[in-house]
Symmetry: C3
Amino acid sequence: MKFSLLNQVRVQNPLVHNITNAVAAYFAANGLLALGASPIMADETEEMADMAAICGALLINIGTLRQPTIAAMLAAGEAANTRGVPVVLDPVGAAATALRRETVARLLAEVKFAAIRGNAAEMVFIAGQAWQGKGVDAGSGAADAAQIAAKVAAQYGCIAAVSGATDYVSDGLTTFAVKNGTPLFPKITASGCLLGSVIAAFLAVAERADSLNAVTQACTVYAVAGERAAAGLAETQSGTFGVKLVDALAALTAEDVERMARVEAV
Amino acid sequence: MKFSLLNQVRVQNPLVHNITNAVAAYFAANGLLALGASPIMADETEEMADMAAICGALLINIGTLRQPTIAAMLAAGEAANTRGVPVVLDPVGAAATALRRETVARLLAEVKFAAIRGNAAEMVFIAGQAWQGKGVDAGSGAADAAQIAAKVAAQYGCIAAVSGATDYVSDGLTTFAVKNGTPLFPKITASGCLLGSVIAAFLAVAERADSLNAVTQACTVYAVAGERAAAGLAETQSGTFGVKLVDALAALTAEDVERMARVEAV
Amino acid sequence: MKFSLLNQVRVQNPLVHNITNAVAAYFAANGLLALGASPIMADETEEMADMAAICGALLINIGTLRQPTIAAMLAAGEAANTRGVPVVLDPVGAAATALRRETVARLLAEVKFAAIRGNAAEMVFIAGQAWQGKGVDAGSGAADAAQIAAKVAAQYGCIAAVSGATDYVSDGLTTFAVKNGTPLFPKITASGCLLGSVIAAFLAVAERADSLNAVTQACTVYAVAGERAAAGLAETQSGTFGVKLVDALAALTAEDVERMARVEAV
């Protein structure tokens, strides 16, 4: 597998509009800059249409929902759809509260997403199956993650990425397992949120027909960057890992990823 | 003194609901993850009751007050009280503005707190004494911190923790001095805010009757982690200290804390 | 050139009120603490007048605009003007959306700024020239940055700082080129936002008549801290750079800056 889209991100430096949570904003912006993309965070309804006019992709993350932000998410999603700007959904803690369940349902009904990324518990909820998780954590995820990815993708006509020790990326017909990564990812906050933004950056530079490949490359680049960042660290060095992950996103080359990638069709 | 609650936090991985300020959110989430707890940040009134149903503790921090968030704090506090979920108050810059003074007064009137944590200047205000501080800083704190802790605890029927070079933790009858720590703590933002969240995590896994011990353990674990993180650093390396503090919170064992703890009844 | 105001910041520890964006809040607070100032973030309209009564300077950064925050910016600016508290404007992505264009125009009409800091593209917009930039990035900035600085300063009767590989600081009559810095600055998010806050800290301890010198010192101290932080780092180590920049802001002495400064009148 080639990872040429990483080079495209660095050449095109796409502007990625993030409507993300209060916890992830700083880390996601630094991660996107390190990757080679250009982040912009904005969540005031009034400027969502203008953002859609200048951005290459939109990321909607529901990690810290507020009523004004929900309106902005819907306005931004509609504007992006109108302009053909790819939209990524990160349904953080989707089933934790009625507000999150209703907001996710409304977003899925009113916005066409190019990709949906979540952990097993969140994606199980998106797929309409029984909720098994807790809060915003990955949860037990008893169900088979590859099947969940395929189901979400088929149900919403998008690319679905289920994050975990192994990531599964599917368009509903073909599903890839990305076996790279590190146990340090769940030890830092917003590591999943940043992956959602990275997916948006890759979709910004990809052909629509190439979306499955773009999301798979994004997950692989991110997971390999995590392996690189974790090299030589103890599992307790999560603070240091967060810093080194940003460094690794900037230092990684397409050749590095190609050499280290452990991606298989399932 | 034993520090078995640190192991309990890591075993039970309690979900801690933080209504915290815009500055502290990222650092507090990473610190709680490192400690072994599971953070969730949410401040939309609509989902506060649902949060109380799934969380082991609630932290209310007034560092960046907004009107919608004040309503959420009151709703969350009431819901937590109803369910017996322990609530921690961090009255950041409590006396700096009328809005903060009025909000703290209203929170203290409408919500039953298990613990209140602040610096000397903030706790002096809570205790209704003359304000001597400036903004959100620790201030001069001429009054005796141990007495302030005992007074706040007795006045509000909770555990009071006064942070400083030495922390004082009291239930109004018994007061402990935690002499661990490092001058680097006040050099990084949100170090006090994270302690408030750590106290919430310890209360989430403790028996109510054991709250004084739980808060004392939380303050000691945090102060010892600071000592570990500061080891070998110059006082000017505050950026590095913030990263190493997260590492230290993850690496520290109950035995390490027991060996390093300098806790005395006063 | 002497950099005595750095010592003044550390001696006076001025309280700097930041109405800044959701991405920069954490980094700006840590940077100000490292420098020796005392940060406070607050953006609820109700407490803006109280903030003006206790703060030495106000920074208004439009990076993530929300309607309630716009009202707070106007209230804070008016209160600061009434009390003679210096106000700094950081017009992040000023021309990216109608909301930002209108908000900047309204702020410039209703608030008297002591200093305006932005990248070339943002300052070109402030100067009313043709927009050449993209989103919140520095843009192409074909126009001459020194002229833009002089024009903005003359137009608004303030100090203007145009950030870039070389910073230009002008009062409309005299313009200084600050040639210190590092290519790592644009690789981390909020590096410009933190400079805006640093400028506010220097203005808080300076005589009004000395504002050009104060802003020039602020830009030089910050650029030299960046050089120090970048020493020995690869251009890909942006995560590490962000941490070391905070360390460098704390470790730097006025003598270090005087020795390393490359400042010229143009």
